[in-house]
Symmetry: C2
Subunit: 144 residues, 2 copies
DNA sequence: TCATTCTTGAGTGTTTTACTTGGTTATTAT
DNA sequence: ATAATAACCAAGTAAAACACTCAAGAATGA
């Protein structure tokens, strides 16, 4: 399970762009100032966000980053995955060899939890966060 | 967000006890062998599980650990919390000062996610896992 | 009494995290 | 041209966390 500052910073930075995209390309220096994130660290994150196709870039004066598709089309999960954070809680990563070649006793539990988190992150878009829609989320967990 | 081997080991060990509790007290050596977890590491984890009131212990031959209440009454969340793993994803831990005294843009999102995970872990008991009930979990996330 | 088992505290190598440093390359405005 | 801007890139690093090990001690039962 990896959900740390890296993923948080990436999401925060993407929200910043989404909020300001009407002003054209957004520079990392601006994001750095506004969100209190180190510029060099942002560069590393945006290298990955670009490779994942979530943002496009332009160099030189007037340059910066833009979302490469609408904020509705980018999920929080997309961003987290782009910066290499994994939501998989299982030691084996799904290989089911957690205990000397065998599935550990809690394997299915972690599978369920990973799925729950994954589903949550995929269900929320950048636009939802900009609109503060995630504050009204209703969660329901049932056993069959 | 902290969900690592520590929490996984603790849950796996507790499942082991739940599965074998009819045989009386379970020694850490047995759990260590069966689950492939270092004995000394288990000792540390059980020190915390005992402090949290989830297990009781007896020394000497025939001794070992028992669940201090029924497996139905122990949630996975109880175990995770007992070994000091936090499910809170927010940098500020809820203080809402993630960005220089202010809430960061993604604050509410992490609050929602933390709540989702917390709810999941609280809803599943040790007995559910022993019965493999978590494999049939149905997840539903709606926006209001 | 002796083996067993929990109990406790300290130490340790490895990995990860969250950066920093120091550049280079492309683009634009003057 | 040239200077400023801003993305791009590679490497290094201090501190923390992780997943243990090691060593000793104390209670218990056969």
């Amino acid at each position: 399970m990896k959900l740390t500052s890296k993923g948080r910073y990436a999401v925060t930075a993407m929200i910043d762009i989404a909020l300001n995209q009407d002003k054209g390309a957004i520079t990392l220096s601006l994001i750095s100032e506004r969100q209190g994130i180190s510029l060099s660290y942002l560069e590393q994150l945006f290298s990955k966000l670009k490779k994942a196709g979530l943002v496009s870039s332009a160099r030189g004066p007037g340059g910066g980053y833009r979302l490469s598709r609408s904020a509705n089309g980018i999920s929080i999960g997309d961003i987290i995955h782009a910066v290499d954070e994994s939501v998989d809680i299982r030691k084996c990563g799904g290989a089911a060899n957690c205990n000397g070649g065998e599935e550990c006793l809690s394997h299915e539990l972690w599978t369920s939890l990973s799925f729950t988190i994954e589903t949550f992150l995929k269900s929320i878009t950048l636009q939802d966060v900009v609109d503060n829609k995630e504050t009204n989320v209703i969660k329901q967990v049932n056993f069959g």
